[in-house]
Each structure stands twice: as C-alpha cells, then as structure tokens.
C-alpha cells in the first residue's frame, strides 16, 4: 500500500468537458489564457491528498442563506432549496466534501463592494453559505433564487441567474469551482461563460426542478449533482 501511491490511478480533469482557457467571446479570457500547451506531469502524493473537513468546520446556519445573515427580517425573493450529491466519475459518493456557495440576491446584486449594478441590496441577505456532504455525498442549501445581472462583456450583456459553487473533493486534484444555472433560462443561450463549455457538458450545469424537494407553502426545490475527477475505479472492482 505504502509504495502504491505513484501507480494508483486517479483521473485528472477531463479536458473534453471542461472549458478551454481561451474563449474570445468571453473577452476577459483573451489576456488571461495561458498560450502554451499544458505540461503533462506524473501524479504525486500531493495530488492524491487534499484538505479534509469534518465536524466543527460548519456552523448550524451556514447552509441556510435565508437565515445566516438576517438583520431585521427575512430576505426578499423566491425561497429555494438546492440539493444534490457529490460523486466521483465512478459513481462513488464523496462524503465530507466542502461546498461553498456565493450568489447575487433576488435583484441581481452582489453584496461585494465592487459590484456597481444599480439594483437594491437586501439587508437580510449576504448570499454566502457552506456545507459538508453527508456519508452519501448529499448536500442541501436553503437560499433565495438569484436574479440575472448585467455585465460589461458586450452590448446589453446579462448573466443568466446562477449560483457559484466551490467544491473540495477527496484530493486537491478534484478541486472544482463552477456555477449552477436554472432550467429554462433564456439568457443561457446568450451567455459566453456558459457557451464557453463544450456542448456535451452544458446540460450538466443546469439544475433540474425537483418536485420531491419542493416543500408545500414554503419553497421550490432544485437538484444539482456534481461529478468530480477522482478515482475512475468502480467501488466494487
């Protein structure tokens, strides 16, 4: 076991589903995309290990964005529940995966001091949360559906509604930062960040409406599963 680590196969990023560094329609990529080919390297123990999280990492309210920054009332907007599982390509669930999310409020405004969008802030909504997956790789957030917002990439550019997610899997190689979109949003077809994805990968970033998660008289449910690079071996091999 001790000497196996270099031969143990974990998958790296599947470049056929991930976006390229350079996608000129997203204009900020033009000066920020490496021009040289990525260098192939042997995996080391530093790639098979990564930060681990457990009890004590997360506070009780961290995953409820409708409650974790209340000042004088409930945040305004459409209350939603977002659930999903974090899996490896093999289908094996990833327990204790740290998921951090951040998002605009229901008007499309981030609380960030550099967001200049002329839409109201919500004093009761900070728009950041985190949680750990359980033993089955499942996670659950309660939040407010984010609004679309304008950006300056091109004339009349608007980002489709999205939630940003940062995920730590079993090792540092499975590190993922992504965005979750909502079904039926017409802005996706116009969005160069979404369109920067290879076509086969696009549907995976759209959450699905989940009626089984929807709670009567309270909130709509959405499901968003996350598949990380990692072991390609099946759990029962």
């Amino acid at each position: 076991m001790a000497d196996d680590n270099n031969s143990k196969l974990i998958s790296t990023l599947d470049r056929s589903v991930h976006p390229p560094h350079l996608y000129p329609a997203y204009t900020s990529t033009v000066k920020r995309a490496p021009a040289n080919a990525l260098m192939p390297v042997a995996q080391k123990i530093s790639d098979l290990t990564g930060p681990t999280y457990g009890e004590g990492t997360i506070g009780e309210l961290d995953s409820d964005l409708t409650k974790n920054s209340v000042v004088n009332g409930e945040p305004v907007g459409e209350r939603i529940i977002v659930v999903g599982r974090v899996l490896e390509e093999s289908g094996r669930p990833v327990p204790n995966a740290l998921i951090e999310i951040w998002q605009a409020n229901s008007t499309g405004r981030y609380i960030h001091n550099r967001d200049q969008h002329d839409a109201p802030l919500d004093p009761n909504f900070r728009g950041a949360g985190r949680c750990l997956t359980n033993s089955k790789g499942e996670y659950r957030f309660v939040t407010i559906k984010p609004g679309a917002y304008p950006w300056r990439n091109h004339e009349n550019a608007w980002r489709p509604a999205h939630i940003h997610l940062s995920v730590f899997g079993r090792n540092f190689n499975s590190r993922l930062v992504t965005q979750m979109y909502f079904p039926g949003d017409p802005l996706m077809a116009l969005d160069p960040i979404y369109l920067g994805l290879p076509e086969k990968a696009r549907p995976l970033l759209i959450s699905s409406y989940a009626h089984d998660i929807t709670e009567p008289e309270w909130a709509l449910g959405y499901r968003f599963d996350i598949v990380l690079s990692g072991s390609r071996q099946t759990p029962f091999e």
Binding site: R32, A33, V41, S90, H112, I193, G196
Partner: protein, 195 residues
C-alpha cells in the same frame, strides 16, 4: 448503490468571477501556521499578471503542500499519523492589493512516501480568476536546492521556461521570503501543468 459501467461526465469548471471574496475569503486562510507548528516560518508571495503584464487584482491563489518533514495530514499518505497536526497544508489568498498574494507557511520537505530521492521540494499552486473559465495549476519550487538539478518535472522543461517555476529568495525581511510571480500569459508565461 449503483455501479457505473461507464464513467459519469465530470461537472465542468466555470469562472470564479469577480465577486468570490465574501464567499471564499474569510478567516486567515493565508496563514498555514500557528505557534505550535514545526519548522522555520517562511513567506511565499508574488503577483499574478495578465498577458499585458498588468497585475490581476481579482485572482484567487490556493496552495497545498507537505509539512516540514514531508508528510500530508491525509489518509492517502501512508505516514499521515506522523504529520504535523498544527500545520494547515492548505492556504488561499486573494490578490486585491495590486495583484499580490501572500502566504505564511513553512518550507515543505520532499514528500516522504514518493520514495524519490531525486525529487525537489515544491508547493502545489492553483490560480482562479475572472476571465479564467478554468483554473490553472502549477508548482512552485525553491531556489538553490541541489535536487532542482535532478527533479524529473523541472528537467522536462526547456531551460528558458524552467525559471518560471523557481521562486526567488529575498533576504532583507524578518522571515525568509520567496517571491513567486505568476504570469498567466506573455513572454514570461508560467509553466502550467495538465492536472
């Protein structure tokens, strides 16, 4: 429990965007040591530059490294029980101040379980930013290491680009300070790895 006959498609990366700070930057995650951590403290700092040589003030830099004895506090390391419980191994920093990131950490030893006496010590680095649909991965090596001559990765890189992976030691500070600038593009473009 379902067994997948064919692997699932990975969820794709998307840019971290310009507004990640209040979701990801809090606490003191750029400080990897506390008063009990083993080893000489060092600073790792540098600037993230774009293809015009302009500093990028909205990047996120993450590091992951072994402790001062070459162990990782993670079950995949067969010697993880010897790992320093007072070291954080992982750090992240924004670049709000003129594109500059900074970490307080210790200098890692070569990972003991790689059993590679030719390997040079390094720190894993990931860079995210607005304008990057997917992060970039590199490794920072230390200057004046005799194993830099024999390290397989360093030796596989053209001599004129190898220097982009080797930090510069700046002596005139309280703590040994390693400067490691990251050029996403341009004449001095950092070597990025397919990981």
């Amino acid at each position: 429990m379902t067994e997948q006959k064919t692997p699932l498609l990975q969820t794709s990366s998307q840019t971290v965007g310009p507004f990640f700070h209040y979701g990801l930057i809090f606490g003191e995650e750029h400080i990897l040591v506390n008063e009990h951590t083993l080893g000489q403290r060092i600073i790792i700092t540098g600037t993230v530059f774009d293809g015009d040589g302009e500093p990028i003030p909205d990047a996120l830099v993450e590091i992951w490294q072994a402790d001062v004895n070459g162990y990782f506090d993670h079950p995949e390391d067969p010697n993880h029980d010897k790992a320093d419980k007072h070291f954080k191994y992982f750090g992240r920093s924004d670049t709000v101040k003129n594109g500059v990131y900074s970490f307080k950490t210790v200098k890692p030893a070569v990972a003991t379980c790689n059993n590679d006496t030719q390997e040079a010590p390094y720190v894993c680095v990931r860079v995210f930013s607005r304008g990057m649909l997917i992060h970039a991965v590199t490794r920072m090596y230390f200057p004046n290491e005799k194993n830099n001559e024999t390290d397989v990765l360093l030796n596989s890189i053209d001599a004129n680009r190898k220097q982009t992976l080797i930090a510069r030691l700046v002596e005139n500070n309280d703590l040994p300070t390693y400067h490691f600038d990251i050029h996403l593009q341009g004449a001095e473009e950092t070597v990025f790895l397919d990981l």
